[in-house]
């Protein structure tokens, strides 16, 4: 586990993540109703996700499923980028 400081340094917003990158969800800044659905879809703290397609809307992959979401929602999600080859999502 990271310390508080280093976590902040390495955190990136989901809408800023480049295509094909993989990251672990660290913080979600809102409790809006859309996030209830995103959480039940698997976008919750500690989950590893992959950006399949960046832009607005963007596509992420959680487990085997692909989810399209608006960049405005993605901007509320902070993630820690994994080291290359950490994820084996392909």
């Amino acid at each position: 586990m990271m310390t508080e400081d280093s976590t902040n340094l390495r955190e990136t917003r989901l809408d800023k993540l480049p295509q094909r990158s993989c990251a672990v969800v660290r913080r979600i800044e809102t409790e809006s109703e859309e996030f209830l659905r995103l959480k039940s879809l698997g976008l919750c703290i500690g989950r590893q996700i992959e950006v399949v397609k960046s832009g607005d809307p963007l596509i992420i992959k959680i487990f085997g499923s692909r989810i399209g979401l608006s960049a405005s929602l993605a901007a509320r999600v902070w993630l820690e980028v994994c080291a290359p080859d950490h994820c084996n999502l392909s």
Binding site: L36, R37, S40, L41, G42, S65, I67
Partner: protein, 690 residues
């Protein structure tokens, strides 16, 4: 079907069953056999897990669609005879988790918990789990298991999982979950018999102990992030029962998506798909529509030959057969639309269409999926309003329903044709230009009003997009057929009841009170009789027809509709309309195109001219004059009438469907008010510009 306890001990289900007994997880006391005990089974699962396919496989045609009381959210209720049991199967809306904000998912969760008034909790839950996406699907399954009710898990898409080299140890999964797990492939029907056996067994137990499931890991640590802990659990279970390492995730979906979700190529592909879609509901539907039209005309002629009493004849032929036929003629469009839509949804493409169109449509306060109803509205607003159900969010759905009838539906074409013929009889090019302009104006106002509603009565804009993009799959024809049948049934029911009543009301307005034929017509008939005696039958027939037209004209002028025409004349005068056009507008409430035949009667050309001799109708209209001798159909009046018919809400059949789909009288009334208000103002401006 087996008639009771399975004696085939080698089947996997029997094995599961005996295993369950050995584990002592569920104790079962068999009931004495009794006929048809009611047993309610709720079907729950993630969207795209194959819920509808399984529901259809279990119930077939024995299903009806009903709204949850007081809402517009649908649930399907079907019956299945399994063994000696009559099982009621309730297909709840798809949901991802029990804590949800969307009305559909909330209702599904509440129904499952037995929290809905007038709808007791189901006796058991049948949870459908997508075997190709176990980690995600087990999330909901574990929440349902925590309700401590009897649960059967149908592990669906086993054929797909096999193809992707995903091997699932069903026995181990059953141990982990503490409930019955039946591997199935709903689409091919594999495993359905075993599933029916399990349902039968569950229904036959006097006291069914709930599934023995406890997720201690989750119970202790769920306070902070319940989702995180639960997902950790689903992941650990998946890892135990599945050989994920060897799985070949299909590349096909990824490759297709690279193209179909591309901002440029994706939109291009979307337009191509929609063009094909439009072609189907507009042109292909024409053939069956003409057949239905012909069928009702034949029935009408036959009834007319059987019933001689003129009032009854007119009531049956024009009121009942004409009224219902005029609406049922849209049945082919509705069937084709819902069939194609079901296929599009089933393949997974509809989610992509929503994805690529979302950004464009959002600017107007509409979701990406609104494109489907808005396009369909160019054929007919009724299926368009019905198809707005593809939009999950209620606000977005309402916005779409409110603006869809502004699109130029096919019932407006005869009016556009009449007006362009009156305006530019010599220039087909100009006529075509006006025609195109009329379509463009409909689109412009529909999108414009969506934008206005977003800033006024429906604030907040369209909800940000969150959509699952399921893997592309071959669509199920059976599902599509049943879905089409279901929608057609709803439509026919409406046409047979409330739309028939409206048609009868409008018929009454234009036929009563009755008036004596005008003196001229009587004289002409007498003259015709004399001519016939002297052998000039050709002239006699012509005279009779002319007398008939005069009688019809006078009857309509003296009817309630004629009187209303006079009453509203001061109101519509600023738009350049006289009382005769007023009668036409009133008759349009049955269907817009009726104005053409009404004008034919009002101007004494006879109803047949609207069908067979358009030129004579147009000539008469062109030469029609007001009481002061000025022509009625000037350029200004024609343009004003055109704009009025582009924008006004006139089709009461559409309003009936809007009432059903919004579950309120408020919204259809609002729609009639705003559209007609818009039409009035626009026509007024146009009339005074020309």
């Amino acid at each position: 079907m087996s008639d009771g306890h399975s004696n085939n001990s080698s089947s996997p289900v029997a094995e599961i069953f005996s295993g369950r007994k050995r584990l002592g997880k569920i104790s079962i006391a068999p009931l004495p056999k009794q006929a048809y005990r009611a047993f309610t089974l709720a079907l729950v699962g993630n969207p795209n897990a194959g819920k509808t396919t399984l529901f259809n496989a279990l119930t077939g045609l024995r299903a009806k669609t009903a709204n949850f009381p007081g809402t517009t959210v649908e649930q399907k209720i079907g019956r299945a005879s399994i063994g000696q049991w009559e099982i009621t199967l309730v297909d709840l809306p798809g949901l991802y988790g029990m804590e949800s904000s969307s009305p559909d998912e909330k209702l599904a969760a509440d129904a499952l918990r037995g929290r809905l008034a007038g709808q007791p909790a189901p006796d058991a839950a049948l949870v459908i789990v997508d075997a190709t996406n176990l980690e995600r699907n087990l999330f909901l399954a574990s929440e349902v298991l925590e309700l401590k009710r009897p649960v059967i898990i149908a592990l669906n898409m086993m054929d797909m999982a096999e193809r992707e080299n995903i091997r699932i140890d069903v026995t181990k999964l059953r141990e982990e979950l503490g409930c019955v797990v039946v591997p199935i492939a709903a689409r091919t029907g594999k495993g359905i018999d075993e599933l029916r056996q399990e349902i039968e067994r569950l229904a036959g137990c006097a006291v069914v102990e709930s599934a023995q499931y406890s997720n201690a890991h989750c119970v202790t640590a769920c306070a902070t992030c319940p989702y995180q802990k639960r997902y950790e659990w689903t992941e650990s279970v998946s890892a135990k029962v599945m050989n994920a390492a060897a799985a070949r995730r299909p590349q096909r979906t990824e490759k297709l998506d690279r193209f179909l979700t591309h901002p440029v190529a994706g939109v291009g592909a979307f337009l191509a798909v929609m063009l094909a879609f439009f072609f189907l509901i507009f042109w292909v539907a024409k053939i069956p529509m003409q057949l239905i039209d012909h069928l009702f005309a034949t029935i009408g002629t036959w009834v007319a030959s059987q019933v001689m009493q003129p009032d009854l004849q007119s009531l049956l032929v024009n009121g009942v057969i004409g009224g219902v036929g005029g609406i049922l003629v849209f049945l082919p469009q509705i069937c084709i639309l819902f069939f194609a839509l079901s296929l599009l949804e089933d393949t997974g493409y509809l989610a992509r269409a929503a994805f690529v169109m979302d950004k464009i449509m959002r600017k107007l306060g509409l979701p990406g999926k609104a494109f489907v109803p808005l396009l369909s509205a160019h054929a007919c607003a009724i299926p368009a309003v019905m198809s707005a159900r593809v939009i999950e969010n209620p606000r977005d759905r309402l916005a779409t329903i409110l603006v869809a009838p502004l699109m130029a539906c096919s019932a407006r074409i005869p009016i556009y044709a009449m007006i362009t013929a009156l305006l530019f009889p010599q220039s087909p090019f100009k006529a075509a230009l006006v025609f195109t302009g009329a379509y463009a104006m409909g689109i412009f106002f529909a999108l414009g009003m969506a934008w206005v509603f977003q800033r006024t009565i429906l604030p907040g804009g369209s909800k940000p997009l969150v959509i699952e993009l399921p893997p592309y799959r071959l669509p199920g024809l059976r599902t599509a057929f049943l879905h089409t049948f279901d929608r057609a049934k709803i439509f026919v029911k409406q046409a047979g009841t409330i739309i028939l009543l409206i048609s009868l009301l409008l018929w009454t307005l234009s036929h009563y009170p009755k008036s004596a034929p005008p003196a001229v017509a009587v004289a002409m008939t007498t003259q015709a009789a004399q001519l016939e005696k002297s052998g000039d039958s050709k002239l006699a027939t012509e005279l009779r027809a002319a007398a008939g037209h005069l009688t019809a004209q006078s009857a309509l002028q003296n009817s309630f509709a004629g009187k209303i025409g006079h009453v509203i004349e001061p109101t519509i005068k600023p738009l350049g309309f006289d009382w005769q056009i007023g009668i036409g507008i009133i008759s349009s409430f049955a269907a817009r195109e009726v104005i053409v035949s009404t004008l034919a009667v009002v101007y004494g050309v006879g109803e047949d001219a609207a069908e067979q001799n358009r030129k004579s109708l147009y000539d008469t209209l062109r030469h029609a004059t007001r009481s002061d001798g000025a022509p009625v159909f000037t350029t200004a009046t024609c343009m004003s009438l055109l704009v009025y018919y582009i924008l006004a809400a006139q089709c009461l059949a559409t309003s009936v469907v809007v009432r059903r789909e919004t579950n309120s009288f408020k919204w259809p009334l609002f729609q009639i008010f705003y559209m007609t208000g818009l039409a009035y103002v626009a026509s007024f401006i146009i009339y005074h510009l020309f």
